[in-house]
Symmetry: C2
Subunit: 396 residues, 2 copies
């Protein structure tokens, strides 16, 4: 039998999906499962995005340009300019989701063995993209006590070696919901200038900020326009995760040229989804006002209900739609599995994502979970009640 290589074997399992088989079993036993494990919003996609596809007059579903259609990229540049991000069509390569955008970026700027610094907890799939590219993540642990704000710059400096090529942040952050302030971004700007590193920012949750806070993009920092690489996606912005349209944005022309080679090797991003994404750019502001109001309401009720549970610690998210919750258990992974395998309250239970998979440091975050507040208020209340009751039973 042929030898499946170690490389393939070392690809990590996705922490947001590893419990799915238990959830399917629970469902078979007639138990309703509230899914707080994955960032799949229940918000409707803007109708104009769906309608554009339905009304399209395609006879031949052809390849688009490898870099994405001119039409889409030029309108996307206009959208960014409204967000105070001044870029041109040619600074953008359209990809199959932010996943591919990050994958191409890492492949373009790093050789196997190179290192990237990422504050942890971080979006778990950064692990997968790094393993697939043979590169090494150097994590810096941020703390629930500080609401997961930016770790001290001195901590970054300690890790930098000649192999360090980039710092990667997600802002607003998945899984913590933290929104980096302008001051924090400026601190990162200073260090990438000093050490001549790339600064990669995954800004797919840009629109989702609460309490009057506003997102500040790394692309607003002109002094690092050769270092700054923005990763973006329509998935969360327009609740169209299934489109698979993202992009790499940078003013570094050599980077864009190299990313384009990766893009050409896979031919093109999906055509239907580009049509939907183009139309989605016309989404009226009211859609976002409503969506953000809804998420804020959910966040507020979730945090309030979680805080009523004895022994729980929770950070208040300023953005995105996730939060990290510290539980009064030793192993949140066990607890999360137990919720699906052994527990139900009135025939209902909850699926959450154990947070351990969002940390790269060993034995860190073991008592934490990530909750995605992608369900409505009523379901969130039911879900938190289940967690409360489950903790009581589990700890006995």
């Amino acid at each position: 039998m042929p030898n499946i290589s170690i490389k393939g074997k070392s690809m990590p399992e996705s922490p947001i999906r590893k419990l799915v088989p238990y959830a399917e079993d629970a469902k078979k036993r007639g138990i309703k499962v509230f899914k707080l494990n994955i960032g799949q919003p229940d918000i409707e996609t803007p109708t104009q995005a769906i309608d554009a596809v339905k009304n399209s007059d395609i006879k031949i579903l052809a390849y688009s340009r490898s870099e994405g259609s001119d039409n889409y990229r030029s309108k996307l540049a206009q959208y960014y300019s409204k967000k105070n991000i001044s870029v041109k069509q040619n600074d953008i390569i359209v990809t199959s989701g932010a996943s591919e955008a990050l994958f191409f970026t890492l492949g373009s700027i790093m050789d196997p063995g190179d290192e990237i610094i990422i504050p942890e907890p971080f979006y778990a799939n950064y692990n997968g993209f790094s393993v697939a590219n043979g590169i090494k993540i150097l994590p810096i642990t941020s703390s629930i006590e500080d609401n997961f704000s930016l770790p001290k710059i001195s901590e970054f400096k300690k890790l930098i070696t000649p192999k360090t090529k980039a710092i990667l942040i997600c802002n607003p952050n998945n899984p913590t919901g933290y929104l980096y302030s302008k001051e924090e971004i400026k601190k990162l700007v200073e260090i990438v200038r000093e050490y001549d590193l790339f600064l990669i920012a995954d800004e797919v949750y840009r629109e989702f900020t609460y309490d009057g806070y506003k997102h500040y993009s790394i692309m607003e920092e002109e002094s690092i326009d050769q270092n700054a690489i923005m990763i973006d996606s329509v998935s969360k912005r327009y609740s169209m995760c299934g489109a698979r349209i993202g992009c790499v944005v940078s003013k570094n022309k050599e980077l864009i040229k190299t990313v384009l080679k990766f893009a050409q090797a896979r031919l093109s991003p999906p055509t239907f989804a580009q049509i939907a994404s183009l139309a989605a750019l016309e989404t009226p502001e009211k859609y976002f006002d409503d969506v953000i109001k809804e998420y804020k309401k959910r966040r507020d009720v979730l945090i309030k209900k979680l805080r009523e549970i004895p022994g729980i610690k929770v950070s208040v998210p300023k953005g995105a739609f996730y939060c990290i919750v510290e539980l009064p258990v030793d192993d949140a992974n066990n607890f999360a599995s137990w919720l699906l395998k052994n527990f139900s309250l009135n025939n209902e239970t909850v699926m959450v994502a154990p947070a351990e998979g969002f940390y790269s440091s060993i034995d860190t975050g073991k008592n934490q979970i990530r909750i995605a507040y992608v369900l409505n208020e009523k379901d969130l209340i039911s879900a938190t009640n289940i967690i409360k009751e489950a903790l009581i039973q589990y700890r006995n």
Copy 2:
């Protein structure tokens, strides 16, 4: 300025796209360009595929399963069984095109530095996927004199080292149009059994065979069911290149499990395109009868017209819709650029793909081009006339 790494820089440029800027310039000068460089058919997509998307009732364009929707995979397995390929839903992982399928496969079975044997000329993007995975292609040159049939097995044996993990074929072949016979497949089966290698077959052109020849899949060989990996795609079969739906198919469960980890890291294949692909499986046989008749007609006129050009050598394709043409010039790359930059006949010219990029051996195939016969008969006649006249002028 940050250091863009060598890895990114060593990604090859796509040979089918490198002349595109010249073609765009020619167009600006008012010259019509016949595009024979890329396998984008002018054949209409089956209407039921497009209609399924138009009639879909999507409110939230959500992620699908990472491995592809159950519905699509189970119907796809039924399609394969009609092709004498007996596989189950769980032997299939749906991907964003054959590109991603091959990328995940190489990542799953090989470590950086490992080697894969591929008969050349081969589909140029295999280079890109290999560079991105840090693996080495060992080419075996097939010859236009033999119509690009399978090189001698002794040539394969010479190249096998402990680092050799797989043999990759494309059948029917892009760029040669060659269709491997059952006997040739059996020879490959023997060698992969003897040396315990993976046998990967890119079979995306399965339907396109001419002159009564029939495609024989590696999946029909039960004795290598743990070694065989089939790469597939809807792009050519249903003329829906822009869908970006492909798949990895194998009975090797460890492989499928590993490919799934790669698939989970990028979340899911595109949702609209899966809807179209599911409906496309209902395409009546008549669609293929008509399409194959059309391609055969094009092939026949193309070969006939090319053979009328003095000094040209051409292999007769038995499948797919490409052929390799040897020109009476030293450097087909120069000639192809010159066609776009300096030549026109009645304000028309032709874009072809220089074949050098389909070879991995240095200085091989320099006097060859690949022609994709994806245009109608009339345009093919015009295009061959242009090539004929151009060669006369170019050689003077």
